[in-house]
Symmetry: C2
Subunit: 440 residues, 2 copies
């Protein structure tokens, strides 16, 4: 039986999970694959810690540089995280004709194009299923399972920390700050949660999904990104009363006449219908919804993080690559979802042109005529209202007014908002959320 | 650019959908695949009907026999349905060294083993993603996406007709017969609905899923199968009061010490927790939930039938096969999920050994001591109760009593039931449903 020889960079949480599968699940993997996947070497700075694994026959080393160029390794798995030295190690491995697999979304979002070009040049593969949706085989489903479709939209709940916080806020009627503290105590949120709660992690993943869906280049810097830190328990309650649940979504859609010319990419808290499949994705679960012109709505659900689920996706990538590496033949079946030469440099839709339905929360003074002034400005901008609710709350002089609008462009909405906050009776701070009625 | 040449058997609903993709979506597919998929020929007995497609360059023929052996065809798509002549056509194509793709679950469930053996002998592929879960790439997710996992369970909502009926019964508080009639009028159910509502279609699909999950042979005849026709609006209401929703599930689980020795396969109406992801799958949608020892719970959701979604899965299979057929090289990357030589002839777990939690609906005479007699028999069999509810209903002399039990074996339960219906005050007809608390 032929074999593929793996070198593992990083024996942290995910790395240990990957090693565990490669060591303990060998027999099952060989029966499924018809080939051996053999863990040849693993590099980490800390080789003393007991990882509860029998590394017999595996070369443990603290010399990652030597490993990524070693002759007895066909595929390098990068699980160090961050930009450097991860990028240099992966690039070096590819340059030496080795395949690479990574779970590093930041690396792929920022340096993916450079790595893909290098891999194409060397006729080797880069696997990064684990970078999006953790254990969920969502890139595979999108690129291969939906390969016959023009993709009409991608919606993703891609950050477990945010989804956990939003779920707890709803279930307990609790405020953001309290739930965040609890999430930090439980290990669901980092001490500095910015990366997660401000949507940056979701934007990394969305930029990868969008590139695969539309055959474009990865453009992380172009993603319009807002986080969940301004949402209150009151917003979640108001949304629920209107029939919606708030989720942090990454959203990608195509624009163009006949063929895709521009890609829309945005990450923000989003109202989704409470009975939709996406709204049911709770706690730290992730899900990706892909809709295509033939397949209609599909959704892929599972664990978006964690040692074992992420390791599952990493090893699936290794097996996928091993499967299409013919023995002794210089031919690699390229991954599906746009062969490298066919990916185009599509423009990102300008933020002002994004069309949405909106949820607006204004703080207005409780006096006659204010609402009339606000709605008259909206009417000037041809923004019509789907629903409005005003409640008495005990906050000083102002009361919150919640409005749901029909679709308009971001540019038009922002113009209206800047006039509205110019009204004396309206406070400057306006919460703008967006609504997607068409999710399944 | 190299190409794969496709011959299409059957231009009915799905066949027309497949032709539509191959004709209209060419450019997109080539960019994703790096190869051309070319529709060379299509065979159907009715060539006169206008299918709204431009068949220029496609050989239309009523001679299917000639098509499956033609030299200018690399891959045959079978969309005739049923056992014969579908089986003969596919076998002939394989024997002539052509790849085959089908959406025919009955064919694969019954004759899959024969076809797989033939394909392995000829070093060609058989694709059947569309046979399970329609447009959902669930076989791909199971076989490839979860390839690193020992599969702990597979739960599937695999029949859109049943799911539509159960959803409508719940939403409208309506009885089975009324909803079935409505489903027939809407085209969601056949004039003779037996195949769907008695669980046979689900059993076909489950037997395929189980074989892929556990590397066993397809054993459709071994699937324990019950349908939904005995469920009343009252059962759905009782289940809801207890926190459950009733779904027709196909269920597969492994048994054995260390490695899989027996496979459990069953299809029956099942109570699932109302807040589970599976419980949210409504109307004619399908979903497959795969849980693995590393990936934990995953779920794949979408359209389980219909021209366009099914065609999407058929073409994904064609592209998948085209991708791994190297030009001029006699090497085919075998599909993942147990290479043919490694699939074993695993035993099916005997029905009496299946362990479940149960929902029992007994009709008992409303007189003192009856419940005590029933529960005493259950206690004799070491079956403990999780919940019980008894309602006054206006049905003659008997009232329904609903019981939820803790886990016991099917054999033990049936022994208890046969003693219970021996009681004078209990009617013979007992509805037995099963409960799965561990679905996600």
């Amino acid at each position: 039986m032929s074999e593929i020889r793996v070198g593992l960079l990083g024996l942290g949480t995910i790395g240990t999970g990957v090693a565990r599968i490669l060591i303990e699940q060998q027999a099952l993997m060989s029966r499924r694959l018809g080939k051996q996947v053999r863990l040849v070497a693993a590099a980490d700075r800390d080789l003393d810690r007991d990882r509860g694994l029998d590394f017999t026959g595996v070369r443990l080393t603290d010399d990652a540089n030597a490993m990524v160029t070693a002759d007895d390794i066909d595929l390098v798995v990068e699980l160090i995280g961050g930009y450097e030295p991860a990028r240099t190690f992966v690039a070096t491995a590819l340059a030496h004709g080795k395949h690479a697999v990574t779970a590093n979304k930041a690396l792929i979002a920022k340096h993916g194009e450079e790595l893909f070009a290098l891999a194409a040049e060397k006729n080797v593969a880069v696997g990064f299923e684990a970078a999006v949706g953790g254990g969920i085989p969502c890139l595979k489903a999108l690129r291969e399972g939906c390969a016959a479709n023009a993709v009409e939209s991608v919606y993703g709940i891609l950050n477990g920390t945010c989804n956990f916080i939003l779920t707890k806020m709803e279930n307990e009627g609790a405020d953001y700050a309290d739930v965040l503290k609890k999430a930090q105590q439980l290990g669901y949120a980092e001490a500095d949660p910015t990366f997660d709660v401000e949507g940056i992690d979701t934007a990394h993943k969305l930029s990868i999904l969008a590139a695969m869906a539309y055959g474009s280049k990865i453009k992380f810097d172009d993603v319009f990104t807002e986080g969940i830190s301004n949402i209150t328990a009151g917003d979640i309650e108001s949304a629920a009363e209107l029939g919606y649940r708030i989720k942090l979504l990454g959203i990608a859609k195509p624009h163009g006449d006949g063929q895709v010319e521009q890609v829309e990419m945005r990450v923000h808290p989003t109202l989704v219908p409470v009975h939709s499949q996406l709204a049911q994705v709770s706690d730290s679960y992730n899900a990706v919804q892909v809709s295509g012109d033939f397949v209609e709505h599909t959704m892929y659900f599972g664990r978006g993080a964690g040692e074992r689920p992420t390791a599952s996706a990493v090893v699936a990538d290794i097996m996928d690559i091993a499967r299409v590496v013919p023995d002794g033949v210089e031919h690699l079946a390229p991954p599906m979802g746009f062969v490298e030469a066919e990916r185009r440099n599509l423009e990102t839709l300008p933020v002002a042109d994004i069309e949405c339905e909106y949820y607006l929360r204004l703080m207005v003074q409780d006096q006659p005529g204010v609402i009339a002034s606000v709605t008259s400005i909206l009417a000037d901008h041809r923004i019509s209202l789907e629903a409005m609710s005003q409640k008495e709350r005990s906050s000083a002089n102002s009361v919150p007014v919640v409005m749901l609008t029909h679709a308009t462009t971001e540019g038009n909405l922002q113009a209206a908002i800047s006039r509205i906050i110019g009204l004396n009776a309206v406070e400057e701070e306006v919460l703008i959320l967006r609504k997607e009625s068409s999710v399944a």
